[in-house]
């Protein structure tokens, strides 16, 4: 299962290198595990004699696949069952089969662009909020990450330090990100102090629909840009230096070099980053939920929050509708993930 904030497939593949010879913290921590593994030597040999090499393969795969089965595959089946049944019960046998009713409820609208005309207006509010969020967030995120990567790729001093600086917010928890910025945006916060210092009137940022939306985008860019910048930086560093040196000989302007060399050669990486950012942006929840709680009103309520509240929190709890909504979101994510996998393969062949 991919939890929020988890790295995508294969990100962070460590370069093969020799394990350090000296006794490291890792070795000390591994000592008890080694002892346990040693104690299992006998039983394992017995098991191997009994079940053969095939039995050992099954044994190695079992724990991981059992967890996958129990907490990903089985729930997915239950999700489909929920989405086709009605009522507020969570216990499956006590739910009644209603067919595609839940999907119909979510999808029926006189005008899909106007949530008020929909049977489930909240769902469409969440859908359009998410579309608005994704559209702005991905563009700003990729622009910021790209700028950062280009700058870190220049011959600047202390590049390692700067790389670390941009990575700092990536490590922070969404709750911490939300709280840090909530404290800054509050009525008597840092931002309003700066406003007053500049001779402007303080604003109640988080009770203003537009500002709440802008800041929900802003803090998620703040929290994630460093991760994408590092991926793009890796792509930039794979571009051979001598191409730029040749361009410099020909007195090519930096802007032209960017358009004619950097962009075409980075394009495969950039596409992967964009799709990855899309996948994450569609699921936005934690940091925005902590910052705005979906408010003011419903103006920053995104799809995951809709699913969470419909499934658990709201007084009109309806697991069937939540399941149907999450399956539809899942469909979008599957398409995006398949695109990402195809793009990654294509890029690695380039």
């Amino acid at each position: 299962m991919t939890m929020q904030g988890e790295a995508p497939a294969g990100a962070g593949n460590p370069a093969p290198q020799q394990a350090p010879a000296r006794r490291s913290i890792g070795a000390v921590l591994a000592a008890p595990v080694g002892l346990l593994a040693h104690l299992l030597d006998g039983p394992m040999r017995f098991w191997q004699r009994l079940a053969g090499r095939g039995g050992m393969i099954a044994f190695f795969l079992l724990p991981n696949m059992a967890v996958f089965a129990l907490f990903v595959i089985v729930p997915l089946g239950i999700n489909v069952a929920y989405s086709l049944s009605g009522g507020t019960q969570l216990f499956l046998p006590s739910r009644s089969f209603v067919g595609p009713e839940n999907f119909a409820r979510l999808l029926t609208c006189d005008n899909h662009l106007a949530p008020a005309t929909c049977r489930d207006d909240l769902f469409w509010i969440a859908v359009w909020n998410t579309v608005r969020f994704v559209a702005l967030q991905v563009v700003v995120l990729v622009a910021v990450a790209m700028t950062t990567a280009l700058i870190l790729n220049r011959s600047i001093r202390a590049r390692g330090f700067w790389r670390a600086v941009f990575f700092f917010p990536v490590l922070l928890s969404p709750v911490v990100v939300g709280l840090i910025w909530k404290w800054i945006f509050q009525r008597q916060g840092l931002l309003n102090w700066l406003m007053v210092e500049m001779g402007l009137d303080p604003v109640n940022w988080l009770t203003d629909r537009t500002w709440a939306y802008v800041f929900s985008v802003g803090i998620s860019v703040w929290a994630h840009a460093g991760f994408y910048a590092l991926i793009l930086l890796a792509g930039l560093q794979a571009i051979p230096r001598h191409i730029y040196e040749a361009a410099e000989m020909d007195r090519t302007s930096p802007a032209r070099a960017f358009r004619r060399i950097t962009l075409p050669l980075l394009w495969p990486n950039l596409l992967v980053v964009i799709v990855l950012a899309l996948i994450r942006a569609v699921q936005v929840f934690d940091e925005v939920y902590v910052l705005t709680g979906g408010g003011p009103g419903t103006s920053t309520m995104y799809l995951t929050q809709y699913i969470y509240e419909t499934g658990f929190a709201s007084t009109l709890r309806n697991p069937g509708v939540a399941a149907a909504a999450s399956l539809m979101m899942g469909g979008v994510l599957v398409v995006l993930t398949l695109a990402q996998i195809a793009l990654t393969r294509w890029r690695d062949r380039q």
Binding site: M1, T2, G5, E6, A9, G10, N13, P14, A15, G26, G34, A37, L40, R53, I57, F60, L61, P63, N64, V67, F68, L70, F71, V72, I73, V74, P75, N79, L90, T148, I151, S155, A164, V165, F167, L171, P174, V175, V176, G178, I180, W183, I184, Q188, N192, F227, L230, I231, P254, N269, V290, I307, Y308, A323, S326, L327, G330, I341, T344, R347
Partner: protein, 356 residues
């Protein structure tokens, strides 16, 4: 030109090759400076605010550093007392440091600390509190002692440690099977793992809840831990790494009558140590930061993890920001340790091979 011969401005503004400033240098400098302020500014503001008293947090405009009212011990009629000090504008135009005995309306009775028998009536608009930089460490000790934050901290440590250990064991076992054996259905297993990559928590939220509750793991820290341990990312990463370990090593071990289990933990696992370290770091950060799933599983207050506890206290009607801020700082500490000591492994990992 030697370094010592340069004046500071030339040193700071010099450019490689000495060709002077190009607009790209200006952009670079500006972007880095802006990023530094934007990234560490908010974190620093959090840190400074976390040491302010509630009264100070309510102040607007705020001060940058945390202050506390300065006091002096004054001999009063009822014995020595610690009284708040003020700088007072006296009618004759001079100013003096005085302590407040008591206050009636807008007038306060004030004395010079060195002459406690000579009170003066002062308008409160003609005085300013005398303050010194002071760190309100109560903000840290109170929630840890009187609220449940020490417990939340323990819960978070428990969840993070257990989840990371189990993740390393299960993922490395699966990765070993998938990288070092040819067997029927291997591609099928790989497909399942890719598929699980496509089904994030937000899609499976409701049914996962029912699975975990039917296992009796609601309001149980294991209900938080177990669903997270089989990360597809981890399996991929370790498998990729194990593929680089030469099969001859394993064949040689088999010749020496090593069991498959011994090959796994005696040969392959130690050689995978660098990748295991990266996965361990990732796992610690993921599990420490998890929010949505613990929020659903844990509804009893004493079981909250730090993230859930912080969100709950921050969502209360009367938010006690001084405690929230301090506990936020506490929750950043492990991440900060990872950042300072281990981030080069992560950034080198991401930057080294990217998304392969």
């Amino acid at each position: 030109m030697t370094r010592s011969a340069m004046n500071p401005v030339a040193f700071l503004t010099r450019r490689r090759g000495g060709k002077g400033w190009h607009w790209t240098d200006v952009v670079t400098f500006g972007w880095l400076a802006l990023s530094l302020v934007m990234i560490f500014g908010p974190a620093l503001w959090l840190l400074l605010s976390s040491f302010k008293t509630p009264a100070q947090l309510a102040e607007f405009p705020p001060t940058i550093l945390p202050y506390a009212a300065q006091t002096a011990t004054v001999e009063t009629k009822t014995g020595p007392k610690a009284l708040p000090l003020y700088t007072v504008e006296l009618p004759d135009g001079s100013s003096a440091v005085m302590a407040e005995l008591n206050r009636v309306g807008i007038m306060a009775n004030m004395v010079r600390p060195e002459a406690p028998d000579d009170p003066v009536k002062v308008n409160i608009n003609a005085r300013k509190p005398l303050r010194e930089v002071a760190f309100a460490t109560d903000n840290y000790t109170t929630p840890l002692k009187q609220f449940d934050f020490a417990r939340y901290l323990r819960n978070s440590v428990f969840v993070t440690t257990m989840a990371t250990i189990i993740t390393l064991i299960t993922n490395s076992m699966a990765a070993f099977a998938l990288s070092k054996y040819e067997f029927r259905g291997r591609n099928g297993v790989m497909m399942v793992i890719v598929a699980t990559l496509m089904i994030p928590l937000s899609v499976n939220l409701v049914p996962l809840y029912s699975v975990v509750s039917s296992l009796g793991l609601m309001n149980n820290l294991w209900g938080v831990i177990l669903p997270t341990v089989a990360t597809p990312t981890g399996v991929f990463m370790l498998r990729q790494y194990m593929l680089t370990i030469p099969d001859e090593l394993i064949e040689a071990a088999r010749m020496d009558n090593a069991s498959e289990w011994q090959i796994y933990w005696r040969i392959v696992l130690p050689l995978t140590a660098p990748a295991l370290a990266v996965l361990a770091i990732f796992s610690v950060v993921w599990r420490w930061n998890d929010f949505l799933w613990p929020l659903i599983v844990l509804s009893r207050k004493e079981l909250f993890t730090l993230q859930v506890g912080l969100n709950t206290y921050a969502g209360e009607l009367n938010v006690q920001w001084q405690f929230i801020l301090a506990m936020t700082v506490v929750s950043i500490i492990p991440v900060l340790i990872v950042f300072v000591f281990l981030q080069r492994f992560i950034t080198a990992g991401i930057a080294g091979t990217g998304l392969k």
